[in-house]
Chain length 149, copies 2
């Protein structure tokens, strides 16, 4: 059974969003979430699931799927910044360091640019384990507008 | 219960990979996988889960999470091209069209460039529903080498 943290969902409208606004999510990347992600993604690479195999790889032990971090970035975008009403246009991802089972991942999404005329946000995305930066990237999204509501 | 398609895993070594080599995965994006992705990602945006809400949005009905397509791209990379031994460096994603519950997603990953000296691949990634292109992107990965094995 997955222990999914409850985060209160919200919507921020384009009119109310400024550069520097930030939202975050923190989740322990335990075996349950790694196995669940393997099932939902079809990615059963043994580096994620088989400790004996993983120990012989360059990683020296099991690691989480890189795209699991991306899934959590998308949760911050779709749940909080801008939240419900967001339209996801694009995402870049740089996988910098592996995440080990049992580590706690902090996902921080920060507004880097606001284009009010086109209702577009550029979001800086950073995933960290403690002080270690594990995934970085940039998202492009359309934010909902009070005018359209 | 998720009905996950079985795809035989494989490893391609950098020495054997040429531009144009392609691997793929096909999966029906049904309600079970959408709900499973919502749990594993923490992304419970009602546009994915609540038909009544989703009908009032610009999408006119429920859609799958964009990052679910990305998870399936990563499965082709980690399972087939180059497969086991791959090290995921980066990914770009462009979300072009929504995916509706019940649609079948075809994920095709094709080698666009091979840098044998650095063991690096550039992979063109395309997700389609029939003839409709829904997600495109480019991946950067390190491939395993026969020399290192």
């Amino acid at each position: 059974m997955l222990k999914t943290p409850e985060v209160e969902a919200s919507t921020l409208f384009i009119e109310d969003i400024e550069v520097g606004v930030s939202r975050s999510l923190s989740r322990e990347i335990d075996d349950a979430v790694i196995h669940a992600f393997a099932e939902v993604s079809n990615d059963r690479n043994p580096v994620h699931l088989d400790e004996e195999y993983a120990c012989k790889t360059v990683f020296g032990g099991r690691i989480a799927h890189g795209m699991l971090s991306a899934a959590l970035i998308s949760a911050v975008i779709g749940g909080q910044l801008p939240g419900h009403g967001a339209v996801y246009l694009g995402q870049t991802l740089s996988f910098r360091s592996p995440i080990r089972p049992g580590e706690r991942l902090d996902v921080v999404v920060t507004v880097a640019a606001v284009d009010r005329a086109r209702k577009r946000l550029t979001l800086d995305c950073q995933c960290r384990v403690g002080d270690r930066v594990v995934v970085t990237g940039e998202a492009k999204v359309l934010a909902p507008s009070r005018a359209a509501g």
